[in-house]
């Protein structure tokens, strides 16, 4: 148990003050999602790893946890992509280049990159689950020779909700990326796969001993994706999931993000499936 006498004054932190970051790029990329590029003051680096998040702050409204969408290998600046779904995010919609955004973080555990080196990476992204996974994808692409295959499964409700369509095109054209995109509700122009994301899994040819799966999507998606991967005999400890919770403080204090006894903001948001299995509230 941590005791008062174990703590020196200099070890304590002012935990709740944001760093003001300049918006250096902003673009509404779908009806609901806006992309932002931000710059830390004085050329500092955010210093994140793929899968981590920040608390974004707008004075007078509050804070919300937002996934970091850019790779740490992108120097100097970092990117967010925010769905307009709540009070804060609907205000952030109005932020443009030159505006200042409050940022705390990065927080939590991202993907354990040291365990991913040399492996085949299977990315499973549902909806805005692509936002944090884009950080991982671009990290792999920037360090391409350090990894095996890169297989990306991406599902969206409709073609108009697909994010980062320019990058999807680039990934599609690369020989060293296996991209499979599906939509639940196709429109008349859609020529690709139709159906939920799990329909992409049965036909995959995976090397079971070297494949690591990284999954992010809406809460309802996880169980089904895990079931599909297990029916392909992928071992549990090679499955990583990034979970959404109400990570209000980001520093393991406020209690909102707890999954049973685990703080999602500290022990997650990226978890190994083996660690989630005993947690009844997880999936």
């Amino acid at each position: 148990m941590k005791r008062l006498q174990d703590v020196e004054h200099h070890e304590t932190e002012d935990l709740y003050y944001p760093t003001m970051c300049k918006v250096t790029g902003a673009k509404q990329i779908t009806e609901m999602e806006k992309w932002y590029e931000l710059e830390m003051p004085d050329g500092q680096s955010l210093g994140h790893s793929p899968g981590q998040f920040v608390e974004v702050s707008a004075f007078g409204i509050g804070e919300a946890p937002i996934s970091i969408s850019s790779s740490p290998s992108k120097n100097g600046k970092f990117e967010l992509c925010i769905r307009q779904v709540g009070t804060l995010t609907n205000v952030l919609k109005n932020y443009e280049t030159g505006d200042m955004m409050g940022i705390r973080g990065p927080f939590g555990k991202g993907f354990p990159m040291e365990k991913l080196f040399g492996k085949d990476i299977l990315v499973v992204a549902g909806g805005i689950g692509l936002v944090p996974l884009r950080s991982l994808i671009n990290y792999v692409l920037d360090n391409r020779k350090d990894f095996g295959r890169l297989i990306i499964l991406y599902g969206a409700k409709t073609p108009s909700e697909l994010l980062f369509t320019d990058e999807l095109e680039t990934w599609k054209d690369r020989d060293d990326v296996e991209l499979h995109v599906t939509v639940d509700q196709p429109d008349e122009t859609w020529e690709g796969n139709t159906g939920v994301i799990t329909t992409l899994i049965p036909s995959l040819d995976l090397k079971l001993n070297t494949t690591i799966a990284a999954i992010t999507g809406p809460p309802v998606m996880y169980k089904f994706v895990v079931m599909s991967l297990k029916s392909k005999q992928l071992p549990d400890d090679q499955i990583y999931l990034s979970l959404e919770r109400r990570m209000k403080c980001g520093v393991g204090k406020c209690g909102h993000c707890q999954i049973n006894g685990v703080y999602c903001c500290q022990d997650g948001p990226v978890f190994n499936y083996v660690d989630l299995k005993p947690l009844e509230e997880a999936l």
């Binding site: 941590k2 935990l15 004075f59 769905r83 779904v85 109400r246």
Partner: protein, 344 residues
Amino acid sequence: MECFSLLRSDVPALIDYLGDFGEVIAPHGKGDVSYSFEVVRDSSDVVLDYTRTLLPLKKMFLPPVEKLMGFSLKNGSYEQEDVIVAPRVFFGVHSYEMQSILRLDHSMLSGSAESNYFKRRQSSRFVGISFEPDEFHFSESVGVVIEEMEGFDLFLNEVDGDFQLYVLTDSGQGMLNGFDKINLTEPEVVEGRHFKKKIRYHYNRLPRVFQYAYHSDVWADVASRCVGCGACTLTCPTCFCFDVQDEVEVTAEDGMRQRSWDSCMLSTFAEVAGGENFREKTINRTRHRLYRKFKYITDEEGLPWCVGCGRCTAFCPAGISLPDIVNELIQEDEKAQYHRTVRV
């Protein structure tokens, strides 16, 4: 450890004496039946025989509402709110209350150590006092006896109406220097103070009970009676969950960010933008509260995160009793063990 005798009639003089070492905060009567920790203005107002204060002492370390920063909407800038705490002496604190502060120390200082909490905590000294358990206290069942002195600088144990004053730290010794109304004496063991409310198992067996209790029918019964008001967590001395909210002044130019106590018993506590609620039903929340007290942190730290003050039970508008819930879970566990044995 030295022990002195102190007459009840000389306690106000001691409180006045302690005033030299900081602001003295002690239990006061509030209305006819309630008690509250307040700054002492007149030492004769301090209540020595009290059951429990409505709000726990945590209010002095994690204020119910605390300003974190002021901000200007016009400039998009903010100013940190500095926490400056003058030395404080908490007088007349019960053992379970002190134990709750030691647990809060762990919650707020492990991992990222919070500076606001640290500053309030570091400037504080504690003078304990014994108490007569009422029908709600059950601290002995969670390992906290009436005379538990851990964390205190001084402790007053009532003996035949007067007190024995224990000196427990150098700082306690320093506070008594020159106080001449005490006489060195032999410590006595006080008999006859009994807890009426008990948990039937030793607390170190409870994590095992909880390990198998997740899907117990007891939770549905508790949930059917719970009104979801959050009184249990707000009066709980070891609960520390909070919310952070921005308040904007009517001029719409300035405002402040403040944090306030929150409760995992409130229905929106685990809800995220978009409407997904990760603890949607009352049963999820009543269960979570008790697992927080007896399983999750306990598995890691070896101590129950409940100190047996009885507040959550005494102040529950629906009459839900925490020790009764635990005893029901124990009873179920015994039945399950019996059936397992019979089958073999």
